[in-house]
């Protein structure tokens, strides 16, 4: 077997094992939360009789281990079960929300990744001069701003002062593609502001690191322009660290944006998860948790694979 294939297979197997471990940890975590589903659903208006009825109906009277393995069996056969709280089919409810999560992440990623890399290259090219300082200054201030502050700022700016967008970014099936893009414009702007600096700084640092090498000097001596040197010689050799940071940020765009979702009323997976944690809806929390873990793990595997493929030393081990 080709060593690269073997490495990739190893990574995937490890990832699956990790996913299993994560599912157990999530289960334990939710079990350890105080309060229970029945109480959370009925809230202040619960009577002891109604509580007992509801617990029995939801199977909460069975031991935790039994429920865990029952659920694990279900997920392997693609059956996520029904939400305890409102009886909706979980797979169906998650499906649409996951689509929205991915749509938002894809929009933010499609803008922020090329922009960050471009800005990183420019900053490296003018290292220590004003364009570098300007780019670093701006992106570092936007990353330092908490997401919700940035969100309120763009809401004020782009819905009140210059009313071109809507403050509430809900998207629905049946909306056209451009309509959807218009709806998510504000959260996308906020997310781009938040993730830009990290990727930009890493691109700049990785390029500058490579720029110290002897072959860069050679390239300069043979008369290439500075931008050509960076693009053709420095960038390909700096890809591995850049990709790992890019992927980390993409994973964040999928799993870590609940605050932005809440502020813009965006109907995606993060808000959905928080609602169900509050109601102790274990099957839903489990399912979403595993999806998030799956996204995180697979993106990291992807980063590893790209780093391996991009690195000649890993590609052709002696």
């Amino acid at each position: 077997m080709h060593p690269v294939l073997k490495l990739v297979a190893q990574r995937i197997a490890l990832g699956l094992l990790l996913l299993l471990a994560v599912s157990a940890v999530i289960f334990l975590g939710v079990e350890a939360l105080p309060g229970d589903t029945a109480q959370a659903i009925l809230g202040q208006s619960a009577t002891p009789q109604a509580l007992a009825n509801l617990r029995e109906k939801m199977g909460l009277d069975q031991p935790a281990m039994v429920r865990y393995f029952h659920w694990l069996g279900g997920i392997l056969t693609g059956d996520l079960g029904k939400a305890l709280t409102n009886g909706q089919d979980i797979a169906q409810a998650i499906g649409q929300r996951l689509g929205n999560t991915l749509f938002l992440a894809a929009c933010a990623g499609a803008i922020s990744v090329p922009l960050a890399i471009l800005l990183g290259l420019v900053a490296a090219r003018y290292n220590g001069r004003w364009p570098d300082k300007l780019i670093s200054g701006i992106t570092l201030s936007t990353i330092s701003l908490p997401e919700f502050v940035a969100a309120y700022f763009v809401i004020y700016l782009l819905t009140q002062l210059i009313p071109i967008f809507n403050p509430v970014a809900m998207v629905f099936p049946g909306m056209g593609f451009w309509e959807k893009l218009h709806a998510v414009a504000l959260p996308v702007i906020v997310l781009v502001l938040v993730v830009l600096a990290h990727m930009m700084r890493m691109t700049r640092a990785a390029i500058l690191n490579v720029m110290q090498s002897a072959y860069i000097e050679t390239a300069e001596l043979k008369g290439l322009s500075p931008m050509q040197v960076i693009w053709r010689h420095a960038f390909p050799n700096a890809i591995a660290p850049i990709v790992s940071v890019v992927v980390l940020n993409l994973a964040y765009l999928v799993v870590g944006v609940v605050v932005v979702e809440v502020v813009f009323g965006y109907n995606a997976l993060g808000q959905f998860l928080v609602d169900h944690v509050a109601k102790r809806d274990l099957p839903v929390v489990q399912a979403v948790g595993v999806i998030f873990a799956g996204v995180y793990i697979s993106l990291n595997i992807l980063a590893d694979v790209i780093a391996i493929v991009a690195n000649p030393r890993l590609r052709h081990p002696r």
Partner: protein
């Protein structure tokens, strides 16, 4: 003068004033009472409901875990949603009188133990079927079944026997209850075909709108039910309820015109919003109240001197000003205010009295160890700050009151009804009997102050079957005094419902029964322009 007068006429036309308010303000400007009254009649008539358009409501209080089963509705959005597609037997009008809905007539035996509801003819469900007396009985039966987990179980439990004959529903009660027609206005008791037994979440009802899209925690859309029986409601072609739990986003959505109405305007920003063109703030006095509750059966609260000392050690006016931003009224340690029928306004208002509180505390012989008051941000809006104000005023009276902050998560299961002293809230009920029976009767399941008083219970049961209003009022007054002087309830304030409404909305009417015109603003209002 004319400019001022124009302004109040304008305000009256937008539905912001009752006749009495309008006449009062107009006569203050020198207009004769007769003329003002005539202008009001003309003005109110001049504003005719406009048909068509899409009314959008932005609301907090919705979760992706919400269900369409009316039995399970507990938060604001499901309530508003159910009021859009459903109809109960009766409803309560803003002035507190009974509004006949699915039932067109109601009568009782002289002892109020057997009630007859005559079902309105030809009321049609969204699926084309007609509402029958059998449906009504089946609906009530479903809520009586403990397995339905209905929030109205306590309301229907007292019905011993139900019978449907032709267009007449007969309900025999196990105990007389003069308020039964009001109890039938409970928002869980939406009449469903076949009682909703087969599919409680089908959302087929007789209300003005049909459910089009139901995405819990995101949005609910509705289209007009063409054969709706009541032409005075349901003016817009479509209704959309958007769940916007974030305060800032909800306010921004109203300001930018993305929605026409919002609930739960943060009292802190009301002053700022008042200057915004195109938007008006409606602060409506209701029956909801914020409370601190002591368990009367646990030390040190089993001593009435301690309870009374704490009641005297709270500064109610300060709470209303600082916690509610002035949008509310002071409470008097019993859960009834002037929004209830048969309220006795002669009961003296309790006020902050540090000296007397300190005296009573000393007299109680309490050992001086800290008295712990538990609170959480979600106990009610401003609950943490309110508890801190309370602790400060109590300490100034020499009472060692300390605040313990609890997490929101699990507050209603681990703290409320468990710990002996904590912050909480009540939404109020349409009638006094229901409020007292829910939380202050010795045997009540939600007796969260563990208040047990034989005389109080006796009065409550006597008043329940009493059809003589004067006698009933005096019984309620006596109960209020008992609770106020001996109960475990500290009720510093009644909170207003504060909503934001766009000026394009016509037909707004202040309704003390519930938020956003008791859940029906989207149904009773219309779009101008």
């Amino acid at each position: 003068m004319s400019e001022q007068f124009d302004r109040i006429v304008m305000q009256m036309r937008q539905g912001g004033m009752t006749r009495r308010e309008f006449v009062g303000r107009a006569t203050a400007l020198g207009v004769s009472t007769a003329l003002a009254s005539a202008i009001f009649t003309k003005g109110a008539r001049a504003e005719e409901a406009k048909k068509g358009g899409v009314i959008r409501v932005g609301m907090s209080g919705g979760e992706s875990t919400n269900s369409l089963d009316p039995a399970l509705a507990a938060s604001e959005v499901p309530f508003q949603v159910n009021m859009t597609w459903g109809e109960m037997l009766t409803d309560v009008k803003p002035d507190g009188t009974l509004d006949m809905r699915i039932a067109e007539e109601v009568s009782s035996t002289p002892d109020a133990s057997e009630w007859k509801f005559k079902i309105r003819k030809g009321v049609e469900y969204h699926n084309g079927a007609t509402v029958t007396a059998e449906d009504v009985v089946a609906t009530l039966k479903r809520h009586t079944d403990e397995k339905s987990q209905s929030g109205a179980l306590g309301v229907v439990k007292g019905i011993a026997e139900m019978k449907a004959e032709g267009d007449m529903v007969t309900l025999k009660l196990s105990e007389a209850n003069a308020d039964l027609p009001y109890l039938m206005a409970d928002y869980h008791l939406i009449i469903q075909p076949g009682g909703g037994v087969d599919n409680p979440t089908a959302a087929i009802g007789a209300g003005p709108y049909k459910v089009n899209v139901n995405e819990p925690g995101v949005r609910h859309t509705f289209t007009k039910h063409a054969n709706y029986f009541d032409s005075t409601m349901g003016h817009a072609d479509e209704v959309e309820i958007l769940v916007i739990n974030d305060n800032t986003a909800r306010t921004a959505a109203l300001q930018s015109g993305q929605v026409h109405m919002i609930n739960r305007v943060d009292p802190k920003i009301v002053e700022l919003l008042k200057g915004v063109p195109g938007v008006s703030i409606k602060a409506v006095a209701g029956r909801g109240h914020y409370v601190f509750i002591m368990h009367c059966d646990k030390a040190p609260f089993d001593n009435n001197d301690v309870r009374m000392a704490l009641k005297l050690a709270i500064n109610r006016d300060e709470m209303v000003q600082k916690i509610l931003g002035g949008l509310g009224s002071v409470g008097n340690d019993f859960p009834i205010n002037s929004a209830y029928p048969l309220f006795d306004d002669s009961i003296p208002q309790r006020t902050f009295d540090a000296a007397k509180a300190g005296e009573l505390y000393k007299k109680s012989g309490h050992d001086g160890s800290p008295i712990i008051l538990r609170t959480a941000p979600g106990a009610f809006p401003g609950a943490v700050e309110a508890a801190q104000l309370f602790a400060a005023s109590a300490q100034s009276a020499g009472i060692p009151l300390e605040v313990k902050l609890e997490p929101d998560d699990g507050y209603w299961s681990n703290v409320w009804n468990v710990e002996p002293f904590c912050a909480s809230y009540w939404g109020g009920r349409p009638v006094q009997d229901q409020m007292y029976s829910t939380a202050y009767l010795s045997t009540a399941e939600w007796n969260d102050t563990k208040f047990k008083n034989a005389k109080f219970d006796e009065l409550l049961l006597a008043a329940r079957g009493e059809l003589d209003a004067a006698k009933r009022k005096s019984e309620y007054s006596e109960m209020a005094n008992i609770l106020r002087d001996e109960g475990g309830l500290i009720l510093p304030m009644f909170n207003d419902f504060v909503s934001g409404v766009s000026d394009t909305i016509g037909g707004w009417q202040d309704d003390p029964n519930g938020e956003l015109m008791n859940g029906r603003a989207q149904v009773r209002c219309w779009l101008n322009s």
